[in-house]
Amino acid sequence: MKQFLEGSRAVAEAVKLCKPGVISAYPITPQTHIVEELAQMVADGELNAQFVNVESEHSAASVVLGAVATGVRAFTATSSQGLIYMSEVLFNIAGLRLPLVLTCANRALSAPINIWNDQQDSVSLRDSGWIQLYAENNQEVVDFHLMAYRVSEDKTIMLPVMVCMDGFILTHGMESVDIPEAEKVDIFLPPYKPLYQLDPAEPITMGLLADPDYYMETRFAIQETFKDVLKFIPKVSEEFRSIFGRDYKDGLVEEYYTKDAEKVIVAMGSVCGTIKEVVDELRQKGKKVGLLKIISYRPFPYSRVCDVLKDVSKVAVLDKAVSLGALAPLAVEIKATFFGKKKSPKIISSFVAGLGGRDITLESIREVFRKLTQKEVSSEFIDLKPELLKEEYGE
């Protein structure tokens, strides 16, 4: 049913449909509305779950770890500092092969402290073993949560999923979203059947010490499983389409006017909505431009990206995060896609925008297209204010 909702409320509705048994979270802007909505649903008896108000994000992640280990579906949400604080537990959850869904309301990282949106937080955890999906709008947010549980709990996968949505832009933005019917969700997402769980009837030991004779295979196994995830997400996306009608194609990327494009921007998250507007505008003027939206950042869909971009002459990668001291994170993946390949874009330019919530406007995107010329640029910051910079520290 279509409702006009705040993004956070949409998340809560989606999570309610997934019926987690344990929810645990610690408040941090801009995630707060998500957990407040869920708390109200539990208080009103709309959602039968144990709501554990913990004393830190580290404990929030630990509580849901314990719950999933005991065989109960769980949920948590966080942002920025909270995500980084719980990162120790996140690596642990992936290593323990426990299925879980976490909503990351993308927000900039301290210092300096900044509560507005960019993607540094989740991108900084790209090595953690979590599947990462980036949503462009609140409909995708709802749909990705349902798909996330389905992917996460599959017996061949058993890896946790992070659904990333831009803080404030999506969490606090009001959009018209279709909240699926509970009966249909129950068909798409059956109850969690644990592959292993803590149960006195059949005791198991989880989280053992693995010395050099045993550790490496655990990492290899996760790496191989990510290859399975690349094949599994398209299946889940097709199943989703057949039940709910919305088609995410392979669920890994979205191609927007890329077929005959001469210039394509690659990006993740809500900025794609803005880019689509500019693409429409420039296409009207006869310019051959397009957008490649990355949905699945981990596992990274190298072969899909290669398919889409190999015949495009100029590619601009728009990062909403930085990897300080090296090339921008998404740009690195795009460049890696084509290394050693016969067919590849002539130019792959890298741009950084929107850090700390600096608005990415239609003009900013137009500027990216303009700057996408024969001269390749590397980590160029869009809309930077040079007047705030000085070479030497002083009054």
């Binding site: 058993m158 005791p203 198991i204 030991t205 550790y215 499983t225």
Partner: protein, 90 residues
């Protein structure tokens, strides 16, 4: 794909830590034992077993020879002897 992840305790046999003994091992005289069970309670390995008086004995596959049982026995019915001496070993 899964690597080493979970262990079912029924499948775990334990290391044969009896091989750690180099100097001493306990000898259960089984003469004046009063069945107080202190040896069974205090053993860090938990490898001492017994039911009534004079039936308590350790599992030498696991006994590390720490000497706690001999020290705690109120009747001195357990003594520590040289590891290399004859007598019950396995």
């Amino acid at each position: 794909m899964f690597g080493p992840l979970i262990v079912k305790p029924s499948k775990a046999k334990g290391d044969k830590t009896g091989s750690w003994r180099v100097q001493l091992r306990p000898k259960f005289l089984q003469k004046n034992c009063i069945g107080c069970k202190m040896c069974l309670l205090i053993c860090p390995e938990g490898c001492i077993q017994g039911k009534e008086k004079n039936t308590y004995i350790t599992d030498y596959n696991f006994c590390k020879g720490c000497g706690l049982c001999a020290k705690i026995c109120p009747k001195s019915d357990i003594i520590m002897i040289e590891e290399t001496s004859e007598g019950e070993k396995k």
